[in-house]
């Protein structure tokens, strides 16, 4: 199993995928405070044009909250990128036929799937730490004296949202034979959940709540509003992981 894990590491580094993810997430992380910081300057530049149309631009006050708002606004794109980068983790191996050799060499399928989980969840966690760390660092540097309430529950929730999406990627990878099918599966689930989100009774359990960390920081939601969604996401993640482990045992390689 260690050997297969080392192979995953070699693959991530030598194919440059890890580097790309690192750079992207670093840039995403920088963007949040940068946009917040640049907003007044941008508004200043456009002031004349805007005022001619009759809108007065007052003093714009930017703070850490503006940067955290960006942090959550960009969450969707961050999630999409990580799903795209990792959706091929199993199907690419099916398509090339590389796992056939590994299985016929006697590595158990459970271990293969476990290593893939470690790779996928680990990569997301590392990438998310970069994204969060960079934003957090710049925020502390620019607006360090400001106090921000309830940051960590929201940050954790967004991480969990990513875990759930990647659990779905693994789940569909255990059945699909190409990347399109995996992405379609994940997309379909997201769309269905999106519509279910309109049912008020359901919405507090759905993972979209996990992306509302900014509401928590702004005091419009409380931690207890997040609990049902967190519990539901944890259960779904574990369930998807277990099903993919079992299903992978009997799939055609």
């Amino acid at each position: 199993m260690k050997a297969f894990l080392r192979k995953e590491w070699l693959e991530m580094t030598r194919t440059g995928r890890l580097l790309i993810i690192g750079i992207l997430f670093f840039l995403f992380g920088v963007m949040n405070p940068a946009i917040a910081k640049l907003t007044p300057a941008l508004l200043e530049m456009m002031k004349d044009a805007v005022e001619q149309s009759g809108i007065t631009v007052g003093e714009v006050k930017v703070d850490a909250m503006a940067s955290w708002t960006q942090f959550y606004k960009n969450a969707s794109i961050v999630l999409i990128v990580i799903v795209l980068m990792l959706a091929g983790v199993l199907v690419n191996e099916y398509q090339k036929g590389t796992l056939v050799q590994v299985v016929t060499k006697g590595l158990s399928r459970r271990k293969i799937m476990l290593v893939k989980m470690i790779t996928v969840y680990g990569t997301w966690t590392a990438a998310y730490l970069v994204y969060f760390g960079v934003t957090f660092g710049y925020n502390a540097y620019f607006w360090g004296d400001e106090k921000v309430e309830h940051m960590f529950p929201g940050v954790f929730s967004l991480w969990l949202r990513g875990m759930l999406l990647l659990a779905l990627v693994l789940f569909f990878s255990a059945f699909a034979s190409n990347m399109g099918q995996v992405l379609m599966g994940v997309g379909l689930v997201t769309v269905v959940l999106f519509f279910l989100n309109y049912i008020p009774k359901l919405s507090k359990y759905l993972p979209f709540r996990l992306m509302d960390g900014i509401e928590l920081m702004g005091g419009r939601l409380e931690i207890k509003d997040f609990i049902p969604a967190i519990v539901a996401a944890c259960i779904s993640t574990v369930l998807c992981s277990i099903i993919s482990l079992v299903a992978f045992d009997k799939r055609n390689l």
């Binding site: 192979k7 036929g97 009997k250």
Partner: protein
């Protein structure tokens, strides 16, 4: 002892029945040719043996243990060379073999020595490039190295020579002959000259069943039809001969074929008495190809 025993093996793909009760026993330390045309079910049989495909009926035993679909323990006895082996191309050959050794569970010291030995055996000893830039023949040879790495009791090769040029083919066959010292080889192919060159025994798969099996010599003996081929210089002589011996058969090229050797002296006398001019008189050699075609013809 039989390294591989297959009995009553059946497999459908949808409506199509590919295997209809395959019976096959492969004894130890042989190079066993598994012959059949494309689509006969050779790869299916091998994949079932490796636990990569589920079977519909029958039994497969490797070294006396049952093969299960999915996670099968019997794979520890087997080295497998797929028809087109695929690798992690970001690794070097040595790294790949070390990876294979580790997942097979070999200890560190033997992984290193064995990897170097195997790379030497297949002529990749000095190759430090990543696999990405390898030719097909090199990949095939690396495939043999990885398959033999764990000293398997059974080496399954799925058409290892089909995609190669004559040079690459010769190299692979030489390596397989060398590997025979250590292991039993099940060698699937539709190239009969390869079978004649390296196999001790063979079985012919046709219509989802084994229709013929035995040592190469046995099979040739059994099927030997010592026909004689006669070619005369002048057409009118050929026609005269045909009229005189109505058992003679004429081919498209104008040659005459005599199936019954008992008639030969009389025929030769006739030729001599009539002063016919002979181009050649030749005893036909039965090739595996004839046998193969005949067997397939019978099934159809």
């Amino acid at each position: 002892m039989n390294v591989l025993e297959i009995s009553g093996l059946e497999k459908h793909f949808g409506e199509k029945q590919v295997l209809r009760g395959v019976e096959l026993q492969v004894p130890e330390k042989r190079v066993f040719g598994f012959v059949g045309r494309n689509g006969a079910g050779k790869t299916t049989t091998m994949k079932i043996t490796l636990g990569l495909l589920a079977r519909d009926a029958g039994e497969v035993k490797v070294c006396g243990e049952n093969v299960r679909y999915g996670d099968t323990k019997t794979n520890r006895f087997i080295g497998y060379l797929p028809d087109v082996p695929e690798y992690y191309t970001f690794m070097t050959p040595f790294e790949y073999l070390r990876f294979c050794g580790e997942i097979t569970g070999l200890d560190k010291a033997s992984i290193k020595s064995r990897s170097l030995d195997m790379l030497e055996l297949v002529g990749l000893g000095s190759e430090n490039r990543r696999i990405k830039g390898f030719s097909r023949g090199m990949k095939q040879r690396l495939g043999i190295a990885q398959a033999l790495l764990g000293k398997p009791k059974l080496l399954i090769c799925d058409e290892p020579t089909s995609a190669l040029d004559p040079m690459g083919r010769k190299e692979i066959l030489d390596v397989l002959v060398a590997a025979k010292e250590e292991t039993t080889i099940l060698f699937s192919t539709h190239v009969l000259s390869d079978v004649e060159r390296i196999c001790d025994e063979m079985a012919l798969l046709e219509g989802g069943k084994i229709v013929m099996r035995g040592t190469i010599d046995e099979i040739k003996q059994k099927r030997r039809k010592p026909a004689t081929e006669i070619r005369l210089e002048h057409k009118k002589d050929s026609e005269a001969l045909l009229r005189a011996f109505n058992l003679l058969r004429k081919t498209d090229h104008g040659d005459l074929i005599l199936e019954d050797p008992a008639l030969l002296p009389e025929l030769l006398r006739f030729i001599a008495d009539n002063g016919m001019e002979v181009v050649r008189i030749e005893k036909q050699e039965t090739t595996l190809e004839d046998i193969f075609l005949e067997a397939i013809h019978k099934q159809a």
